[in-house]
Symmetry: C3
Subunit: 331 residues, 3 copies
């Protein structure tokens, strides 16, 4: 695409264009070279942007003294992301069922499906259209998989799982293992059989080596549009709302309900049977032991409290040695 | 089973029985429907129990104004769990050795063993009776596996591991990888070869994507009846006692010894060379840097201290901004 | 090897030798038996060393009243580690390409390579000499692997990854999954396509079930000699320095740069876009929210601060209930 074509695509204004060259790559500000397009959003980087070797740049407003062609668009970042999809399309995998895939005869498979080598699919599984299943994935019996799903290598899906459309599951994820439940009798832990299931709704993405356990009787649910990073643990009977974000290594204990549009930053832990409202943000590494109200920001691991309060506590906390020194004479 | 048969099975008293109907399902209080049996323990739920659509309920004592048949038993919860085993028996897997399984000729295999597709079993492995090994699991050489063991898909067992009877290992677990040990020489980390092993005793359950590292010279041991949740890390040379519970994402550093009947809640971290006594409880997300005494409860990440003390610290901690405001005038 | 031969190998002085017996095993102080060599470094263990049943011991200085042959060497520990390599050499795997391995024809493979059963290697992969790839590992297209690399069972390497020489990757690790990045549009999270890669330099070791995500445009880099334990998460665009140590369950958010010779203890979390200098130590479970200066030690999760400061804060923190009691009368 030529610079002018990119500008046109996003209804952008084009300045500094001397020669309408062909853009051949998309790079970050500092790695871009001749032929590359880049973008800048952060005003602190405007000065550095003048050193970029890129042949054109996406910006929100004209940057003075920046001589390369500037494409002025409402949202340079999302325009750039959209261009990535255009410039670097995924290699189309030709539909196939690998001969080495062990697929039960009692399986329904849609159109344009790619099943890689060494996939095992058990009885009564249903798979929609345009699904890609990479090698070494295991699909347990009675599982239903929607359309346009990508299952990367080495994913385990235990029996009875329901997976919606456009779901992406990364390598090593384990969906539907037994919930962690026992009762004690005769001085032993007796396993509680888990006959529930996991439901993954549309447009969910699940990170590498993440685990989502099956419910005891009912359902562990991940609602539509929610994105889960790597090494996250979601325990039995949890219900996670829509468009919620769990960063890496988050852990949610059993039967906890999380609302819509929630963000849990990395390594946050939430106790069992907790309710988290909608639009809640919890900062990294926080420990949540009580219900959290919609629309608020929480932090800290002592346990999590409202962020504004925690900031005030923290401000005094770090002064404690000084305060104590002053106090000591006065007791 | 009819309602009366269930009552009889647990020596329960039966009230409100108008018609001795057939129970066809087991459900929770709120999802139960006609034909289902449910249970209630928590007195706070007694009022809500009156709205259940279940056809019968297991209770500890008669609930007033609840018109459906009530089966009064000593422990409604464990009765219900036992009924799950009866109502939803596991599908029996017919013993087989899949043709696609690569099994060394130098392997001893017991009776009634199921070895799924694409399992690899190396030299000198011994496997007991009634063992199930799902696809894509790898059993390293010289490993011994007892009777009635279930190994879910995609489990790795490195060489020389010993696994007892009735052990369950969930998908993605890695048993016996090298311990994390190096010595520094010539400004480099030199790997310390780990020639020890992992021993998993009887009745242990190991969660999805959990890792248990092999000892340097001796043994990493998980003693009988201990239950370990998902994404837990147990480092080289640890010895974990009997009937101990590790919730998800717990991490135990090298050479730490944990006693019997201990509970570590989710995301707890324990430093290396620590001793934790018997019957210890550590609350979620705590960081343990020193030995913990038997029979006590600990909490907090600053590091873990006795729970009763931590609660008192915490009570003041959250008041710090107010205290500081009052103090400021007085310095 | 005889005791005298071992002494000679390390230029050690030999005392108490009555009979120059053959050493047949290497064991720890308490598990050693007749025929075994052991070692002791910690002076607190000198008394206990007198009870060892070992036939000889490596020590830094003569221990009084210890009757068994003592080999006095500068560094008993590293001498012992070197002997492990000599006494317990790895079984040589005979080079092979298993018939069940699915290897694209467009792959270059060096000399003396072992490719186990059920390995999948996609187009345009290059593999060096003396590489071992265990069963169920998946190597995505355009990946380059150096010499003397060991890839344990069930490792996933996504496309375009670069792996140096003498790298060890443990079972369940996932290298190069998509970074966790979305932009919000029309009330949805839209996936940002990640076209970057992961570069693992020489002599890196990566633990079981660890995940390292691919960069958005550029590179996620693990520099030479760095050692990463199990269940660690390294996000997109991170650059981790040389000879750095990450203990288990550490998590590093996107675009963070970590210096050389850094030690992050278990369960440490680092926020995104942070810079950590060289020779930094961060104690277990700490949360890092700001840049850390070279050569310093940090701790705590409130967030991490200099260790010396945190120790002073902590000293007052645990006294808060007492301080508050004394203060209460004075407000």
């Amino acid at each position: 695409m030529k610079v002018s074509e990119i500008a046109k695509l996003f209804n952008g204004k084009l300045i500094n264009l001397k020669e309408d060259i062909e853009i051949t790559g998309l790079k970050s500000l500092f790695t871009a070279d001749k032929g590359d397009l880049t973008f800048v959003v952060d005003k602190k980087l405007y000065d550095l942007a003048k050193q970029t070797k890129a042949s054109a740049i996406l910006v929100k407003e004209p940057i003075e003294d920046l001589q390369i062609p500037q494409i002025i668009v409402e949202n340079p970042q999302s325009a750039f992301y959209k261009l990535i999809d255009i410039f670097y399309p995924d290699k189309k995998l030709k539909p196939r069922k690998a001969k080495t895939a062990k697929i039960s005869k009692k399986v329904k498979i849609g159109k344009n499906v790619y099943i890689g080598d060494y996939v095992v699919i058990e009885d009564n599984v249903e798979i929609g259209n345009n699904v890609v299943i990479y090698p070494f994935s295991y699909i347990g019996e009675n599982t239903k998989i929607g359309n346009d799903v990508i299952i990367y290598p080495r994913v385990t899906i235990y029996k009875n799982t329901q997976i919606g459309n456009r779901v992406i599951i990364h390598s090593g994820a384990v969906i539907g293992a037994d919930g962690f439940g026992y009762y004690r009798e005769n001085n032993q832990h007796i396993k509680i059989k888990h006959i529930g299931k996991v439901i993954i709704e549309d447009d969910v993405e699940i990170g590498a080596n993440t685990t989502i356990d099956r419910a005891m009787l009912d359902e562990t649910v991940i609602k539509k549009g929610t994105k889960i990073d790597n090494l996250v643990m979601i325990a039995h009977n949890c219900v996670i709302g829509e468009r919620t974000i769990f960063a890496a290594q988050v852990g949610i204990a059993g039967s906890t309900k999380v609302g819509n549009d929630v963000i849990l930053a990395g390594q946050v832990g939430v106790a069992d049977h907790i309710k988290i409202g909608d639009n809640v943000i919890v900062t990294g590494k926080s420990g949540v032991w009580s219900n959290l109200e919609s629309g608020k920001m929480y932090g800290s691991n002592i346990p999590a409290m409202e962020w504004s309060k925690w900031k005030r506590v923290l401000a005094v906390l770090v002064k404690l040695p000084d305060i104590y020194k002053k106090l000591k004479g006065k007791f």
